[in-house]
C-alpha cells in the first residue's frame, strides 16, 4: 500500500523535475550560447586586424576572424576555468615531488571564478528573495555598503577576541547592517505603499554618501594615514583562505557560507510557513490577505531577509578578500544581482549557477583582455546580451522555434505604482 503510494508520488514528481531541468535551464543555456555568438560578432567587428584581413579578401578575412575569436574565447575559458595542460603538469609535479606550488598556481583561474561568485551568490539571493515576495529590491548595493561599514567596524575596532567569537560577530554585524538598511524601505512600503523601487534607489544614494563620509580622509572610520580607507580588520575576524600558501589565491571560506546561504534561502522559501507567506504575498497579495496573512508584516520580513543576504555579500567579501574597506570600494555586485536573480529564475540554486557564470565571465574577461587584448567591455556586452535574452525569452523562443513554456509559478517582478 505505502509502496504503491510512493510509486504514484514518484510518477507525479517526475514531470515537475523534468520541467525544471528542461524548461528552467533551456532558455538560460540558449541565451548564453546566443550571447557568445553575438559577442563573437562584436569582437570581430571591433578588431582592426580582421578589417585589414577582409581588405585582402573574404577568405583571409574569415580565417583571421576565426583566429581572433578562437584566441579570445580560449583565453576566456582558460581564464575562467584554468588551463587543463597546466593543471595536469602541476598535479603530476605535486604527486611526484610533493611540491604543490605549480598545482596551486594552475588552480588560480577557477578559484578566482569561485571568489567572484561568492558575493554574487549572496547578492543574487537577496534580490531573488525580494522577487519571490513581489518586491524589486534595487537596494542590494546600498545594503552592501552599509553592511560593509558595520562589518569592517566590528572587524577592526574590537580586539582580543578569539576568532570563533569575533568572526561570527563581524558576520552578524554585516547581516544586521544590510537588514536594517533594507527594512526601512520595506517598512515604508508596508505602511504607506511607497514604492520600494524608488525608495531602495534613494537609500542607495544615502548609503554611498554615508560611506564616503565615514571613510574619507579625516572621516570617523578613516585609517588616519591620509588615505580614504578603513583600518585593516583583526586577524581574528578574517575568513580563512583555502590555499594560504599562495597569497594570490583569494578563494576563501566565504564560498562555503554562500552555498549554505543558498540552501537556507531555499529552505526558508519552500519549506517553511514564512516562505509560504512570502511567496503568497508575492504572487497574489489579495489572496494573501484573504488567507489571513499580514501583508505589511510579510513585506518587512522579506526585506529584512533580502537585506541580511546582501549584507553577507559585503561581509564575506571584506572579511575574506580585501580585509579593509576603501572608499567607493564596491564592484557593483548589488546591481549585477538583479541580473543574477533574473537569470536564476529567482530560485536559490538558479542564482548559484548564474553567479558561477558571472564569476567565470569576470575572471575570464581579465584573461581575455590580458592575452587576446579584447577589451573588458566585451564581457559587459556579453552579460548584457545574456540578460536581455533571459528577460525577453520570446526572443530566444522565436530564434529557436521553441514552444511557449508551460505555465507554472510565474514571478511577479514588479507591480505598478501603489498596488499592494
Amino acid at each position: 500500500m505505502t509502496e504503491q503510494k510512493q510509486k504514484t508520488q514518484d510518477k507525479q514528481e517526475q514531470p515537475r523535475k523534468r520541467k525544471l531541468a528542461l524548461g528552467g535551464m533551456l532558455i538560460p543555456l540558449l541565451a548564453i550560447v546566443t550571447a557568445l555568438v553575438l559577442g563573437a560578432i562584436v569582437i570581430i567587428a571591433t578588431d582592426v586586424t580582421v578589417a585589414d584581413a577582409f581588405g585582402e579578401g573574404i577568405g583571409a578575412g574569415l580565417v583571421r576572424s576565426w583566429r581572433v575569436i578562437s584566441r579570445a574565447y580560449s583565453a576566456f575559458f582558460t581564464g575562467a576555468f584554468g588551463d587543463p595542460a597546466q593543471m595536469y603538469r602541476g598535479l603530476s609535479q605535486w604527486i611526484s615531488t610533493g611540491d604543490g606550488t605549480r598545482w596551486a598556481r594552475s588552480l588560480y583561474p577557477i578559484t578566482e571564478t569561485l571568489r567572484y561568485a561568492t558575493p554574487y551568490i549572496f547578492a543574487g539571493l537577496s534580490v531573488a528573495v525580494g522577487f519571490r515576495g513581489g518586491l524589486f529590491n534595487i537596494g542590494a548595493e546600498g545594503q552592501y555598503f552599509i553592511a560593509g561599514l558595520t562589518t569592517v567596524f566590528v572587524g577592526y575596532a574590537i580586539t582580543d577576541l578569539p576568532w570563533f567569537i569575533h568572526l561570527p560577530l563581524a558576520l552578524v554585524a554585516g547581516i544586521l547592517g544590510g537588514a536594517v538598511w533594507a527594512a526601512i524601505p520595506g517598512y515604508l512600503k508596508a505602511k504607506t505603499g511607497a514604492h520600494e523601487v524608488i525608495n531602495t534607489i534613494m537609500m542607495n544614494y544615502i548609503a554611498f554618501r554615508f560611506a564616503e563620509f565615514m571613510l574619507d580622509v579625516g572621516g570617523p572610520m578613516a585609517r588616519g594615514d591620509g588615505r580614504p580607507v578603513s583600518p585593516v580588520i583583526q586577524e581574528s575576524a578574517q575568513l580563512a583562505q583555502f590555499l594560504p600558501s599562495n597569497q594570490d589565491i583569494r578563494f576563501n571560506v566565504g564560498f562555503i557560507l554562500a552555498l549554505l546561504a543558498a540552501w537556507f534561502a531555499y529552505w526558508l522559501l519552500f519549506k517553511t510557513t514564512i516562505g509560504y507567506e512570502i511567496r503568497t504575498v508575492g504572487q497574489n497579495p489579495r489572496a494573501a490577505r484573504y488567507a489571513g496573512m499580514s501583508v505589511p508584516k510579510t513585506i518587512v520580513i522579506t526585506m529584512i531577509v533580502a537585506g541580511g543576504l546582501a549584507g553577507l555579500a559585503a561581509a564575506t567579501d571584506l572579511l575574506g578578500v580585501l580585509r579593509f574597506m576603501p572608499n567607493a570600494f564596491s564592484a557593483g555586485y548589488g546591481f549585477d544581482a538583479i541580473a543574477l536573480a533574473l537569470l536564476g529564475n529567482s530560485h536559490p540554486w538558479g542564482v548559484v549557477l548564474a553567479s558561477l557564470l558571472f564569476g567565470a565571465l569576470r575572471s575570464g574577461a581579465r584573461n581575455m583582455q590580458g592575452i587576446a587584448r579584447v577589451p573588458l567591455d566585451i564581457t559587459q556586452i556579453l552579460q548584457g546580451l545574456i540578460i536581455i535574452f533571459i528577460a525577453a525569452p520570446e526572443i530566444i523562443q522565436a530564434l529557436y522555434r521553441l514552444r511557449g513554456l508551460e505555465k507554472g509559478e510565474e514571478l511577479v517582478l514588479t507591480r505598478g505604482w501603489g498596488q499592494m
Binding site: 510557513t273 509560504y276 507567506e277 503568497t280 504572487q283 489571513g292 505555465k407 507554472g408 509559478e409
Partner: protein, 515 residues
C-alpha cells in the same frame, strides 16, 4: 430568399483543442437564433470567427446568400454584423454621443467633431427602436441596462443588421431583462436579425426562434422553443439528466450565528456603500442576498470576513464582537469564505492545487509543525480533498491556473467546507460555472446547512437565490429593502425590491458622505 447568415462546417482548432467542430447554423431575417451552451462549449470561438477575430481552419460563411471572407471586425461591420460584448466596450467618462461616434466621427469644417449631427442620428435611432437613450448623458452615470442600449445604438449607428448579443442578460435585473426583450422585439419587427448567446434556459425559451445547443465544440442539437422545455434543453446542453431545482428539506433554524447591526461602510472610492444594514443568520438555514451587482453586497461580505473595516455598526459571530477582527481571527472562529472573485482573491493561480488547498490553514498542524511545512501532510490532505470533492485535476501539483473555472471553484469549496465551520459565506459561488459544477456546489452548501452551519449566499442570479435560500435579503443601494421567506417570494416581487421599489414603504432617503 436566402437566410441572412449561414455558417457551414466551421472548424477551429487550437493546439490540443478542437474548439469548433464542423458547426452549421442558420440565421433567418427577423429572427432570434440562440447559441446555448456551457462555458467552453465553443460559443465564443464561433462568434469570434464570425467577427473576424479568428480565421476558421475549415468552413464557409454566407451572408445573404453570398460567400464572404471576414478578416477582421471591420469586414464584419461592413457586412452589417455587430456585436455587443459581455463586458461593455464603453468609455465611462465620455457622453453617449461621443461613445457612439468613436471610430467613425462626424466631422465639420475639416477638423471639428460634429456632435449635433451625430446626436440627431442617435435620437432618430432611439426613437425608431424605442431605445430611449439621451445622446448627451454621461455613460458612466447610466444604469447598466441603459449602457447596454448605448452599445446597441452603437451597432445600429454603424448600420448593423445582424446583431450578436453575448450573454446580454447576465448583468440585468429581471425588469431590465424584460426591457431588453422589448428592444429585441422592436429590432426584429424592423427586419434586424439577432444571435443571442446565453445559458439561461428560461430566457432562451422566451426570446428565441431557433436554438442551437453546443457542447464540446459541436452542435449537439437544434431546438424550437415551443417544442422544448428547460429540462430537455439542460440535458442536451450538459449531456445527461440534470436537477434544476436544489433538492433540500425545510430549514431548521437554531441559534443565531451571525448578527449584523446597523452596519455602515465606505467603498474603495470612499462613498457610503452600506447604509445601515441589519440582519442575522441562524444555524441550519441558508440566507440569500439578492440584488443587482454593485448595491453593497461586495462591501458587506468584505466587512463580514474582516477584509474591510466598517464605518460604524457591529458584527457578532456566535455572540462575540468581530467588527474589527482580522480575517484570520474570523476564520479561526469557524467562518468559511468562498470569495466573489475566485481567481483574484481565492486562489494563487501559480501554486499547485495542493498549496491552494491550505491557503488559510498553512500554519496549523498537521500541515505545519512550528514554521516547518509538512509536505507529506499537505499532499495527503490535497489528495484526499481532490477525491472527496471531485476536483478534476491531472494531479495535486498541477497549478490551479491550469484548471477549468469549475474545478478552481471546487478547490476553494473543498478547502473551505472541509474545515469545521459554523458559518459559510459564499459570494457568487457559481458564477460562470457549468451546470454540473453548479449542481455540485449547491448540494455542498445544502449539506453544510443540514450539518448545522449558518450559510449566507450572495448571488446576482435570482434563480439561484430563490432555489437555494430559505430566507432572502434584498439589497438596494446599500440598504436592506426587505427580508422575505424564499417559499412565498416571487420573482416579480424580488425584482421590484431589487430595483428599489417597496410596495409597503418608500425607501428612506440615502445620505451622502464626503470622502
Amino acid at each position: 430568399m436566402p437566410p441572412v447568415l449561414e455558417l457551414k462546417g466551421i472548424t477551429k482548432r487550437f493546439p490540443g483543442v478542437l474548439a469548433n467542430d464542423h458547426i452549421d447554423v442558420t440565421l433567418n431575417e427577423g429572427e432570434v437564433l440562440t447559441l446555448l451552451g456551457e462555458n467552453g462549449a465553443g460559443k465564443s470561438t464561433l462568434m469570434n470567427v464570425l467577427y473576424g477575430l479568428y480565421t476558421p481552419d475549415e468552413g464557409e460563411i454566407y451572408v445573404r446568400g453570398e460567400k464572404v471572407d471576414i478578416r477582421g471586425p471591420n469586414d464584419a461591420i461592413d457586412l452589417g454584423i455587430g456585436m455587443v460584448h459581455q463586458h461593455f466596450m464603453l468609455v465611462p467618462v465620455l457622453t453617449v454621443v461621443e461613445n457612439v461616434m468613436l471610430g467613425m466621427e462626424s466631422i465639420k469644417n475639416g477638423i471639428f467633431l460634429d456632435l449635433e449631427d451625430a446626436a440627431q442620428r442617435i435620437r432618430e435611432i432611439s426613437e425608431q427602436y424605442g431605445l430611449n437613450v439621451d445622446p448627451y448623458a454621461l455613460v458612466g452615470e447610466l444604469p447598466v441596462g441603459l449602457q447596454q442600449r448605448v452599445e446597441i445604438t452603437k451597432l445600429l449607428y454603424r448600420k448593423a443588421d445582424i446583431l450578436i448579443l453575448d450573454e446580454p442578460t447576465a448583468v440585468l435585473t429581471p425588469q431590465e431583462v424584460e426591457g431588453l426583450f422589448e428592444v429585441i422585439r422592436s429590432l426584429l419587427s424592423k427586419g434586424k436579425s439577432i444571435i443571442f448567446i446565453s445559458h439561461k434556459l428560461k430566457e432562451v425559451l422566451e426570446i428565441s426562434d431557433n436554438i442551437a445547443v453546443l457542447r464540446g465544440g459541436r452542435v449537439v442539437g437544434y431546438a424550437k422553443p415551443d417544442e422544448s422545455n428547460e429540462r430537455s434543453l439542460a440535458s442536451l446542453m450538459v449531456g445527461r439528466e440534470v436537477i434544476l431545482t436544489v433538492p433540500k428539506g425545510p430549514a431548521q433554524p437554531a441559534d443565531v450565528v451571525l448578527e449584523v447591526q446597523d452596519l455602515r461602510a465606505l467603498d474603495d472610492r470612499h462613498h457610503l456603500a452600506l447604509r445601515g444594514v441589519s440582519f442575522d443568520v441562524r444555524a441550519g438555514e441558508i440566507v440569500g442576498v439578492a440584488g443587482v451587482q454593485g448595491n453593497g453586497q461586495t462591501e458587506l461580505i468584505e466587512v463580514l470576513t474582516g477584509l474591510r473595516s466598517p464605518a460604524s455598526g457591529t458584527v457578532r459571530l456566535m455572540g462575540h464582537n468581530v467588527t474589527d477582527a482580522t480575517p484570520r481571527i474570523i476564520t479561526e472562529m469557524g467562518s468559511a469564505h468562498i470569495p466573489e472573485d475566485r481567481q483574484r482573491d481565492g486562489l494563487v493561480m501559480g501554486y499547485p492545487v495542493a498549496d491552494n488547498m491550505i491557503l488559510n490553514t498553512y500554519y496549523l498542524p498537521p500541515v505545519a509543525e512550528g514554521i516547518l511545512m509538512q509536505e507529506a501532510a499537505v499532499r495527503e490532505r490535497a489528495e484526499r480533498l481532490v477525491e472527496e470533492y471531485d476536483v478534476r485535476t491531472p494531479s495535486v501539483i498541477t497549478p490551479a491556473g491550469n484548471l477549468s473555472g469549475g474545478n478552481q471553484q471546487k478547490v476553494i469549496v473543498a478547502r473551505e467546507l472541509s474545515r469545521e465551520v459554523k458559518l459559510v459565506i459564499a459570494s457568487q459561488p457559481t458564477r460562470g460555472l457549468d451546470v454540473g459544477s453548479i449542481e455540485y456546489i449547491h448540494s455542498q452548501l445544502v449539506r453544510k446547512r443540514d450539518e448545522g452551519a449558518a450559510v449566507l449566499v450572495v448571488s446576482a442570479e435570482l434563480d439561484e437565490v430563490l432555489s437555494l435560500a430559505d430566507r432572502i435579503i434584498v439589497m438596494f443601494e446599500g440598504q436592506v429593502m426587505d427580508i422575505v421567506s424564499a417559499e412565498t417570494a416571487t420573482k416579480e416581487e424580488l425584482g421590484l425590491l431589487m430595483a428599489g421599489v417597496h410596495e409597503d414603504a418608500p425607501v428612506a432617503a440615502g445620505e451622502e458622505v464626503a470622502a
